[in-house]
Amino acid sequence: MQTIIMVINPLTIKKFKRFKSIKRGFYSFLVILTMILASFFAELLVNNRAIAVRYDGKLFFPTYGHMLPGKTFGLSYDYETNYRQLKQKFDAEENGNWVLLPLIPYDPFENDLPEDLYPPHPPSLERQHYLGTDTSGRDIAARLIYGFRIAILFSLGLLGVTYVVGVSIGSAMGYWGGKFDLFFQRIIEIWSNVPLIYIIIIISSIVVPSFWWLIAIMALFGWMGMTWTMRTITYKEKTRDYVLSARALGASNFRIIFRHILPNTVSIIVTFIPFSVSGGITALTALDYLGFGLPPPTPSWGELLQQGWANLDAYWIVGAVILAMTITLITVTFVGEAVREAFDPKMHTIYE
């Protein structure tokens, strides 16, 4: 619906300019945006499939699409080509064939178990495990990046669901007020007191929580925060004169909520988004850490954190996770602060 999309008016442009002028927040935004975009193309950066292979004058791009059996490249086996070995072979042969491997040539699910060595392996440039491996020999950098992608998608999905529910119920409460409002206030108060973690334990003992299951459960118990906010804003906005004048022109309730009140609340909703994103990441990590999150072997920061905690002598596991968490949460929070500052209406007015 076009009305919910932020209206690009001069005031909004001013807000964006303000946001851009807050350097810390703006650069954090660029960092987090790069991280998100990079994670969406993680298959090209972190993968055991090559980006490109040149063999007998033909080019292959194995990243996306069906697996290519070893026979494609003149190897003896029918299962998927091991591109790291293929690269070594081609490099040794020097007959014009070549393999272009991703930056980190490991899959997040792949156990790299060289002979005579027991995982976890410490970071090693030579083996291209830049952050080492975890207790089953999986590359930590690969798992961090794929885990980040899942966490950010989870967080955005959760945000979408909770905001749609929260905004709808909240603006209805604020707009209609009265008994409807009272009823939902009590519902929310009761609902907020349901212990989420027990519910998740119970549910995960019945079904294996998939990505969407987890979003559904978390949203079921997470929509209340936005509802309170929207209720208050709507209460305030509905008494403004423009609502009265829209009414005087014959506008229906639906039209007033969607075309008049909601567009006026967008700037407030936007300021909450970064904090909700970091909240979602933290929540998923915490659940994974406790073992009630996404099932193994899903790459997950929480699961890595737990491994690290159990193997403190393999300091690189816990170190990598904490570093990644810190960078992500700090940048998101910086973005949030800057957005809040840029959208603060008081910032546009100065009394001298």
């Binding site: 001069p10 014959g250 039209r255 075309r259």
Partner: protein, 346 residues
């Protein structure tokens, strides 16, 4: 332009009242209990006439307007009693869905503060087009846009095409009120309620806006209910006047009668307190002593008794009814009790 409405049933002849308000009582619930903001208000507006409602702050002018529009703040404001007959149809208790067809199409309203009455996040063109979206969904986008530009031209906005893409904060107060008027007229209403439309504007702009309303009224033949506290504006604009005091009608008359022979002591006091150019400078302006009684603590009899220079014992016990003192001239004051008796007797 409004011919389609006139062929409808229920409108008998040119002079049938467009809107007739009878014995209207509107009350609000407050922490101190229910108070009646207006009590027993009644008037008639015919096609092409301008009725002025005048009175000081809190006398119930705006509540009367909001009651007619059915825009009282819910749930505290309620029309307790009375009829609001729009072309014979009583809309006093009509459900909201029914009102949505009447608002903007049959009755429109313009507000005091054009600054806040327009939505800050929408372009002017879009806000104007909304009226067409609501009432004229048969128009295509291009047609609606043309109609919007025509309307803006009509209300005297220069370069309307580029104004369409501007935001409220980019135009001046006078322009905003013109936009408000354009929005109110977009649905081609029969009745326009103007609730102190010039109070927030400076004097030169005020005159322009008043002239604009007069011109548009003459052009469209709509009826106007003009609410103001400025008797000068009433004299300039209106055909009929309703003087309100503390929620009740004090006097209703044609403009000519009211200014030449004011009957109610309150009206007389109001007229005396207007400074004139030929009075000597720095003379003391006559004022009406005392304060308007609080709606929470109204006197038993006439509400003006505590300030009235001609109060009588009966004023303290019984509220005065409306006495007819001439053609289209009624006054709520016991001073005219015997006149009525005489005329009835003679």
């Amino acid at each position: 332009m409004t011919t389609d409405i006139h062929t409808g049933p229920g409108s008998s002849g040119r002079n049938a009242p467009l809107i007739e308000v009878r014995d209207l009582v509107t009350s609000f619930s407050t922490e101190a209990g229910r108070i009646k903001a207006i009590e027993g208000v009644g008037f008639i507006v015919r096609k092409g006439r301008i009725l002025g409602i005048v009175g000081e702050s809190g006398c119930g002018k705006s509540v009367t307007a909001l009651s007619i529009m059915r825009l009282l703040p819910k749930p505290s404001g309620v029309i307790e009693r009375g009829e609001i007959r729009l072309r014979g149809q009583d809309i006093a208790q009509l459900p909201v869905e029914g009102m949505n067809h009447i608002r903007g199409r049959q009755i429109s309203m313009i507000f005091q503060e054009p600054m806040t009455a327009l939505n800050p996040v929408h372009k002017i063109g879009r806000q104007l087009r909304e009226v067409f979206d609501i009432h004229r969904s048969d128009l295509s986008k291009a047609q609606a846009r043309t109609a919007c530009i025509e309307l803006l031209q009509k209300v005297g906005i220069p370069d309307p095409e580029s104004r369409m893409d501007e935001y409220v904060h980019q135009i001046s107060g006078g322009m905003r009120q013109r936009v408000m008027i354009a929005m109110a007229l977009a649905g081609k209403p029969d009745i326009l309620i103007a609730d102190e439309p010039t109070t927030a504007l400076d004097v030169t702009i005020q005159a322009q806006i008043l002239q604009l309303i007069l011109d548009l009224q003459a052009e469209t033949g709509m009826a106007v209910i003009f609410i103001t506290h400025d008797l000068g504006v009433i004299a300039e604009m209106c055909d009929d006047v309703l003087v309100m005091y503390a929620g009740k009608v004090a006097e209703s008359a044609s403009v000519k009668d009211l200014f030449s022979t004011p009957k109610h002591p309150y009206t007389q006091g109001l007229l005396r307190s207007i400074p004139t150019l030929d009075s000597r400078r720095k003379t003391i302006l006559p004022v009406i002593d005392g304060m308007v009684p609080s709606l929470f603590d109204l006197p038993a009899g006439c509400r003006f008794q505590n300030r009235c220079p001609r109060a009588m014992p009966i004023c303290e016990t019984e509220p005065p009814p409306l006495y007819r003192v001439g053609s289209g001239h009624a006054v709520s004051c016991y001073l005219y009790d015997n006149i009525k008796d005489e005329s009835a007797g003679g």
